[in-house]
Symmetry: C2
Subunit: 189 residues, 2 copies
């Protein structure tokens, strides 16, 4: 906390609350409680709630980009990189069972709200989509690299939604294994 500016603390608190309770259900008061700030002081940092949402999405985009770059340096093999993506379902299984996927649930909520930030939130999906597509391209796929990327993305979203609904960790493990098996059938080496 010491190294963070007030603005960064607000974004971090909002990020978590948006994920746990949803965007619309998260009030400025609840964020202010976490950051130990008064409601009035809030508007010095963010003019409106939508501006805060934009900042949270921008922060998530930056975090995701950093994660993907880390994966790239850790795993030179494109198949291993895709495996890292699949495994976040396991790594984040506790949060996923409680709150679903942070990207999928935010996108669904903003779609129902008909919110202007829906496009920005969809950029998080695009980030993963393009990155996965690039890995499939490196695996030798050309025209259908994007289709395969979307398939992996959809599979992970389906697992997150049902894991959240049923609170079933074994289901996550089974589906992750199934996805790894599917990936293996799409690698010729």
């Amino acid at each position: 906390m010491s190294g963070k500016t007030t603005r960064e603390q607000i974004i971090a608190a909002a990020d978590e609350l948006f994920y746990h309770r949803g965007f619309e259900q998260t009030s400025f008061a609840s964020i202010a409680d976490v950051v130990h700030l008064s409601r009035g002081n809030f508007y010095h940092h963010f003019k409106a709630k939508d501006d805060l949402l934009d900042a949270v999405i921008a922060a998530r985009l930056a975090d995701t980009r950093a994660m993907l770059e880390r994966w790239e340096s850790e795993a030179p093999d494109p198949a291993d990189r895709i495996r890292k993506f699949i495994d976040i379902l396991l790594i984040n299984r506790a949060d996923i069972q409680s709150y679903g996927c942070p990207v999928g649930t935010l996108t669904s909520e903003l779609a129902k709200l008909d919110h202007t930030a829906l496009g920005a939130a969809g950029g998080l999906f695009t980030l993963f989509r393009d990155w996965l597509g690039e890995q499939f391209t490196r695996l030798g796929y050309r025209d259908d690299a994007d289709d395969l990327a979307m398939h992996v993305l959809a599979a992970s979203q389906g697992v997150a939604t049902l894991a959240n609904a049923f609170h079933d960790e074994q289901f996550i493990r089974r589906e992750v294994q199934r996805l790894h098996d599917w990936l293996d059938t799409h690698i010729d080496d």
Copy 2:
């Protein structure tokens, strides 16, 4: 409209608004506007908003049961029945692109709200899960019939979430075809 009671009209209006805008974001006033009723009169029919939610979920459960029974009478072959389930992604593609899956999005929202009706909403998933599991059992699967049912359910949820995020109809068509192909590899006849 003529043959429906006021209560049934309220439930139908709430059902649609909950799907299009979400539960929390749907106010009594907006439902009252649709049914042409005053806000005050509302509480003659439903004591609280949660009671209305329970009624909407009960109505969806009844509608779903009726649909599954219709499928059973239309298709004696369990594989054809599963195909009918897969094809609702195509039939409802317009709504899915705009609002996602009515079951998945409601469950995600109630999970974040920590709402008591989350279990009841999950019953909608259980209905499909058990029905799909029974079809896989009839196809000869025993221990893993439920796993396969959950896999089909997860696949459909993933497609719905991404179709909603990207508004991509061709993606739906590709993934539906992929699911049909997957199903064919799981039928030996």
